[in-house]
Subunit: 210 residues, 2 copies
DNA sequence: GTCTATAACCTGATAGAC
DNA sequence: GTCTATCAGGTTATAGAC
């Protein structure tokens, strides 16, 4: 069976440039990367970037779009699955994101940055036809849970923020965390692996608090 | 009583430029801000920036250092206070940071970014004579709590990450959160105010879980 | 101290040879 | 398709008048 390798060795020049751009943009952000950096990283000449992508900005938009799709895509399948419980959905989402973040730890800071730089642009470009939240399976299930009155009565937005915070923030703060704790990348990733089980437990405990 | 105003109206030219630089750098990051932006924001001419600060980078370093000190400074007093309980320390820290972040919501992303851009540089510049953790009052108190065996046995780093994540991440993700939820800045800040009380409760619940 | 003008450099983009 | 050479425009930094 032929699986897609992380770095396509026989990729086209266009794809090689795109991958180089992805690495550099993700690491340094739009403003700090020079087209020369991308050329060097790709092993090709500066002129080829314009030959294939017309401009730095167009190339960047492609990378950003792919990142956002990676972030949003598989998620819809999870949150709108009528065959899983709410607890299972939370576990699947967290596990899915941690897997992705271990592989691509620079993405969150990159995305947060560029959204901050120009919120309107990003929102338009992704075509955030923000799914009607209330129609999703996960929303219905939350409502049912809330109706049982067994859970905290505080604004549900808090729990959404908490889930996202606990899952993503450690990756954003990874450089400081690793420096302050002296953890290696492997040890850090092992902690993240632990969190796949822990975060759902914590969320549950928070929801039942008070 | 004369309190220090947010924007010093009779500040020196040097301070006015520095404040302008702080606003622009914090909002746009180092690479994306031009010295012209700072000049314009300050109301003075571009040449004065070099007259007072010699270079863009030197000015930036000053701003960054002040931000990091703002972040770290008052904290040491809290974590090393032998007169407060562990629970009180957690409450004070969270409350302190949320107050600061409501006033300066752009700082976390800014700091995280620049640390990510060059971890070594920042770590050296702040002179992170990282206080010997184990000597701090808060560390001793945590150890005492752990000795009672009444708490979870998992790696304490998780709880440190959780506290920081729950406190800071909402501010980093504020643009997306506000867009997706339709909250105004005032409503968002009201939620953050709620979290001063909630996060300590949640942390407690997490620590006692399992 | 503050300004205008300009130097010196860098960056994105393109022309044109191969 | 890919490269070298170069242009056009923007950016930091400085010189010099006031």
């Amino acid at each position: 069976m032929k699986t897609k390798p992380e770095i396509e060795i026989n990729a086209s020049t266009e794809d090689k440039i795109k991958e180089a751009a992805r690495r550099v943009f993700t690491r340094k952000g739009y403003a700090a990367t020079r087209t020369r950096d991308i050329a060097e990283e790709s092993g090709f000449n500066l002129a080829l970037i314009n030959y294939y992508f017309r401009s730095k900005e167009k190339l960047f938009d492609i990378i950003m779009l792919e990142h956002l799709q990676l972030f949003l895509h598989s998620v819809m399948g999870i949150v709108n699955d009528h065959g899983t419980t709410l607890q299972e959905k939370i576990e699947l989402l967290i596990s899915h994101y941690i897997d992705m973040l271990v592989k691509n730890p620079d993405i969150p800071l990159f995305v947060l940055n560029e959204i901050n730089a120009d919120p309107e642009k990003l929102i338009k470009k992704v075509g955030v036809r923000a799914m009607e939240h209330k129609d999703l399976a996960i929303a219905r299930q939350w409502k049912e849970l809330a109706a049982t009155k067994k859970i905290s009565s505080i604004n549900p937005i808090h729990f959404l923020m908490n889930t996202v915070s606990l899952t993503i923030f450690p990756f954003v703060g990874s450089p400081i965390i690793r420096h302050k704790t002296g953890l290696s990348m492997e040890q850090f990733n092992a902690l993240m692996e632990e969190r796949k089980k822990l975060i759902p437990l914590w969320i549950k405990a928070m929801i039942e608090t008070k």
